[in-house]
């Protein structure tokens, strides 16, 4: 095993431990070690990418983790094309966010803790993508969840932050519930958890059935769906999407790194990684596609009316993640991962841009208090614009290539729900462009709506923050070129690169159709931008009127379709009530304790009664004795 592979996760792990232990002493210098570690990791990741690009695929065990009976699980690394891509995304964005945080988190009393957590996250995410077996994936899966939990609740004195962290963890546990069952089913089916062995044996299970809870499933479908449960949780798909918007309670760099670029994409990574299994079940693929499409629309519509700058971006993340799932669902794993790749850059950029704005506004996150920031924050303005264009699918930018690829594949797939997904995708492309630019215009154009105090403190962020913005902007523009399709003169490099792992989903359509589809989606994006410009720059009074005329719809959107409330009413509150009234008060305290305390009490009462039989009157005693004697005789006669 190459040394750089060991170093890759080890550097951030050591950095985490050292920073945590020496935090007090390091104080404001605490960022040095984590940044160093992230740099090392990036270097190693590049090395790994280099090796992979030259055809060296590593699959090696590090040491045996768990042995029990025929179960043998190792910590081991699988570095192939998919891993390499993920490694580069993770380490590069991680490094940039590290650097950005030096500025953003300056002066925070828990500064060292923040960097320690960042390192922990980097380590976890690397373990997730590096793993060569399901259990190590699960290890990384849960570890990133932990980092996410810790970072969301970083400002734990705030109840809402602590709540959000907890919520993220618990909601994810619902997904993990399915994932862990899926892993067990994999083990029970294949007798191993090692990727390569499982994938090699995968075709053999077609047609087998498995009975769970009295229901009989096709074995591949069941495995795929259970695994997908995990992805649903981690990637915030319906119905487990509720945690991600709340996760915005965390510091903004965290949102950029974890809740946009890397961790939330782990679900996509999982599906892509397990594509040999998913390929066996069209049912599962359809489910993924439909879930993806529905979530896509769902999140995008909510994003339309959000006023919290980060929440808009958060819903946009959910929506973009859905695209990736749609891609996976229609079998275009490569396209999905490609979108993951590009999205990482422009979404991280968006978040960090938001962070810059928030930094300037002194913590203010409500767009209604912003406006006209263009002249105060020029760098942020331009980079933000690039990111927004990218996400809206402006031709030539990163988002354009990846999104187009997905829509194309959805249109041409033979998965039943493909066309449906394509249509939704198209609509969402329009909506995405609209709300992205709504946000953009509201923030940077028009007049400033905040307090004068805020206005006085407006300032561009320091270079330590803006440099990462610029670097990311480069990514947001150029990342897509790696996968530019042949009709645009590219070579579909990405697809070719990924083919050994993810296979190649060829779109067998005439060039004309391909052009047409591209045109439609570009048009959708541009019209979205135009509409936003019209509503928020030219006719700023219109949105208010629209709000009035569609007040019912507006209310549903603003309240996020009441999904949270629904969960509270259907799951949380009943569980608490059940705990308090049914289990605690009734079953435990009344029923079981009733017996447990009741029997002794009964005996005690009997004792009090029987005690009175001992009346002190000798005649009573004698009578008892005589009766006893007579009774004894009678009994003897009768027996």
């Amino acid at each position: 095993m190459p040394l750089y592979l060991v170093l890759l996760p080890l550097a951030p792990l050591l950095s985490f431990l050292l920073t945590l232990l020496s935090g007090k002493w390091m104080g404001s210098r605490a960022h040095r070690l984590p940044i160093l570690a992230a740099s090392i990791s990036l270097g190693c990741a590049l090395a790994a990418g280099w090796d992979v690009a030259h055809g060296v695929v590593t699959d090696a065990d590090f040491y045996t983790w768990i042995t029990a009976g025929d179960l043998q699980v190792s910590f081991g690394f699988l570095v192939d094309q998919l891993t390499a891509a993920m490694l580069i995304v993770v380490t590069s964005i991680s490094l940039l966010v590290h650097i950005y945080s030096v500025g953003y988190m300056q002066g925070d009393p828990s500064y060292p803790r923040f960097f320690a957590y960042l390192s922990l996250f980097t380590f976890s995410m690397l373990m997730l993508v590096l793993g060569n077996n399901f259990l190590q994936l699960f290890f990384g899966w849960e570890a990133v969840g932990l980092s996410s939990y810790l970072l969301i609740g970083f400002w734990h004195q705030k109840k809402s932050a602590a709540d959000a962290g907890k919520k993220a963890f618990i909601v994810n546990r619902f997904g993990d519930f399915g994932l862990s069952l899926g892993i067990m089913l994999v083990f029970v089916t294949f007798g191993t958890l090692h990727y390569q062995e499982v994938f090699q044996a995968a075709p053999g299970i077609v047609g087998q059935q498995f009975t769970l809870l009295g229901l009989t499933f096709e074995l591949p479908t069941l495995i795929a769906l259970l695994l997908f449960c995990g992805a649903v949780g981690k990637s915030a798909m319906i119905p487990l999407h509720v945690w991600l918007p709340d996760a915005m309670e965390g510091p903004t760099p965290v949102s950029a790194l974890i809740h946009a670029a890397t961790m939330v994409t782990a679900g996509v990574f999982l599906v892509a990684r397990c594509n040999p299994l998913f390929e066996l079940s069209s049912v599962a693929l359809n489910v993924i596609t439909v879930v993806g499409a529905v979530t896509c629309l769902f999140a995008a519509t909510i994003a339309l009316v959000q006023t919290d700058i980060k929440r808009v971006v958060a819903y946009s993340t959910v929506s973009q993640l859905s695209y990736m799932f749609v891609a996976c669902g229609v079998g275009a794993y490569s396209a999905g991962i490609f979108h993951l790749f590009t999205h990482a850059y422009f979404k991280a950029l968006l978040f960090l841009g938001c962070g810059s704005v928030i930094h300037a506004m002194g913590g203010e996150q409500d767009v209604r208090s912003m406006g006209g920031l263009k002249k105060y924050l020029p760098i942020t303005y331009w980079t933000f614009l690039l990111a927004s264009l990218s996400i809206s699918g402006a031709p030539g930018l990163a988002g354009f290539f990846s999104k187009d690829e997905i829509l194309l594949m959805a249109y041409t797939t033979n998965i039943g729900s493909g066309r449906f997904a394509w249509f939704i995708g198209l609509v969402v492309a329009f909506i995405t462009a609209f709300y992205s630019f709504r946000l953009f215009f509201l923030t940077f154009h028009g007049r400033f709506r905040g307090s004068t105090e805020q206005r006085d403190h407006l300032h561009e962020s320091p270079p330590v923050m803006t440099v990462p913005l610029i670097l990311l902007a480069v990514g947001a523009v150029t990342a897509g070129w790696l996968g530019s399709p042949e009709i645009l003169g590219g070579h579909s490099m990405w697809d070719h690169f990924m083919a050994p792992v993810l296979g190649r989903a060829e779109a067998h359509v005439p060039h004309f159709t391909e052009w047409l589809l591209m045109g439609i989606s570009v048009f959708a994006g541009l019209s979205g931008i135009w509409l936003a410009y019209h509503l928020y720059v030219r006719r700023p009074e219109l949105p208010g009127q629209l709000r009035e005329s569609f007040s019912e719809t507006y209310r549903w959107l603003v309240n996020k379709y009441y999904v949270d409330e629904f969960y509270v009413a259907v799951l949380v509150q009943p569980a608490i009530n059940c705990s308090r009234y049914v289990l605690s008060a009734f079953a435990d305290a009344t029923l079981i304790e009733g017996v447990v305390n009741g029997v002794p009490r009964l005996i005690g009462r009997a004792s009090g009664r029987l005690r009175r039989l001992q009346s002190g009157h000798v005649q009573h005693y004698l009578a008892a004795m005589a009766s006893g004697a007579v009774g004894l005789l009678v009994w003897l006669y009768l027996v």
Partner: protein, 100 residues
């Protein structure tokens, strides 16, 4: 010849009468007397059986029983006297301080 069972029945009746008195009387002296009745019932059994079994054992046992009865009477009456000195009562249902 009187059947053995007659004696045994008489003994049983005597024993039962003694028991009845013993259970119902309040005066402890009378209760002691009732004990004597019961003992006599047993004695009658022994003597009658001794006669019919042609075995002296029963008769001899009866001697011992009479001796024991004498001893019992002495001690029982002694205890009663001590009690009477303290309580000025010979009624069994008036001594009920030890109970429950």
């Amino acid at each position: 010849m009187v059947p053995l069972s007659w004696y045994l029945l008489l003994a049983a009746a005597l024993f039962a009468i003694g028991l009845y008195g013993f259970l119902t009387r309040r005066n402890m002296i009378v209760m002691f007397l009732c004990i004597e009745l019961m003992l006599n019932g047993a004695n009658l059994n022994l003597v009658a059986l001794s006669h019919y079994l042609q075995d002296l054992r029963g008769q001899i046992f009866t001697f011992f029983v009479i001796a024991v009865a004498a001893a019992e009477a002495a001690i029982g009456l002694g205890i009663m006297l001590a009690l009477f000195r303290n309580r000025r009562s010979v009624y069994s249902d008036s001594i009920t301080s030890l109970k429950e």
